[in-house]
Symmetry: C2
Subunit: 225 residues, 2 copies
DNA sequence: GGATAACCGGATAAGGCGCTCCAGATGGTG
DNA sequence: CACCATCTGGAGCGCCTTATCCGGTTATCC
């Protein structure tokens, strides 16, 4: 997905890079719903140029998020390298949910599939497979509840995506809080080990403002009412 | 919001009801993003009729979801009436998250505010106030963790909204699973009381299909490459 | 059974979207 | 250095959105 046809003119290559860079910024800030028009405008190229280089939305998404997906894989490697199985497990969830907080587009990428973006999906599959090992390790060590299931990862990512999308500026605090709650639920209560204190919740006013903020942006110049 | 001007012609009244009914169906199935056009079409009235009766989107949302909001309030009353404080608490969360599963529009209503829809907001405020009592009661009984905060309700609703929106047909199972996890986290581990088994997770294929499903619907007849 | 105010809904304006097409600019190569 | 394939940007199409305007219809009151 990075580059397939070797025979690409260098000006085309430069434009391609500018498009990907613009798309990354916009996706990160506003999510995947950003229009192709806007990507083109922001990149300083014509609409057709974007469409020619990335005929499908998935092509663009794939090109933009491949590096982030590599980061996802890397988080898993780091988790498996962690000597303490529970630490590895909890650290993985915290890291990944943190990645969602930091990037609205990636938040969506993690809870959808993009069947045509093979490179992206193969990375995701690897992480999914390793997640099984991460679970098994923590469960064997008696630190993770036996009824924690592989599918719970997606449920967690979807839940966190909801928090991230809905709570705007308070996303950081809200997400940490959610993950804190969940980790308490997943951990086996044991005598030797005590869980860290719950991250403090977002302030009430922050949550209220988040609920207020959450409405579709009005078009540029409108009489409004 | 139900009806303010008494002097409304009965044909106008009938149209109003048809609009609200159509909007309820569409909002429930597809969320609040349904266009006014579509509501009008589905109700069998002109666009102008909808706009005249409900000048603001919030007016329509308010009219549509006032009954559901009453149901929300009722769920809280029932929870407070429950003799066992923990039962009341957990039952409330289960009920409300179940309401989100059953109604995509209401899912969004619960995580936004609609400042102009006073009737709606006053109900929400009442529930919010009572939620404080619900918490206090369960904490006094030593069944709810002391660090559970009032703000956590909104975080939970946002998380559940994410699961509901993202998991489509698997929403029921995924949501129950999430709530099950969370309740385990909120409960004080005690000798006398044992928590119920975790609801079983959605199947892996169901979650995969959900991730596949989650893409913007293509327009009616398109070449679609 | 009229008169009249309220009400209706389609047409229309103004904008955005994805997407295609094509005349012209430009890079790489013989 | 000249040629041609490659690449470009924007105009144009068809469809959507929200919101307003206005000629015709209809319920209600006298």
């Amino acid at each position: 997905m990075t580059d397939d046809g070797q025979r690409i003119r260098i000006d085309a290559r430069r434009n391609r890079d500018r498009i990907v860079e613009a798309a990354r910024e916009l996706f990160t800030r506003h999510g995947l719903s950003v229009s192709t028009n806007e990507v083109a405008r922001h990149a300083g190229v014509g609409i057709a140029t974007v469409l020619r280089r990335f005929p499908t939305r998935d092509d663009l998404v794939g090109a933009v998020f491949l590096p982030k997906m590599a980061g996802y894989r890397h988080a898993m490697s780091a988790a498996l390298a962690e000597p303490d199985p529970w630490h590895g497990f909890s650290q993985f969830l915290e890291t990944v949910c943190g990645m969602q907080v930091a990037d609205l587009g990636f938040t969506e990428v993690l809870i959808r599939t993009f069947p045509t973006a093979r490179a992206l999906e193969s990375q995701r599959d690897e992480v999914a497979a390793d997640f099984g090992r991460l679970i098994a390790r923590a469960q064997s060590a008696g630190r993770l509840r036996p009824d924690f299931a592989h599918q719970d990862l997606v449920v967690i990512l979807m839940a966190n995506a909801g928090v991230v999308a809905a709570s705007g500026p308070a996303a950081e605090a809200a997400s940490r809080r959610l993950v804190g709650h969940l980790l308490r639920s997943f951990a086996v209560a044991s005598h030797g080990h005590s869980l860290p204190a719950l991250p403090s919740p977002p302030s009430r006013t922050a949550m209220y403002l988040a609920m207020l903020r959450l409405r579709p942006a009005p078009p540029k110049p409108a009489t409004r009412r």
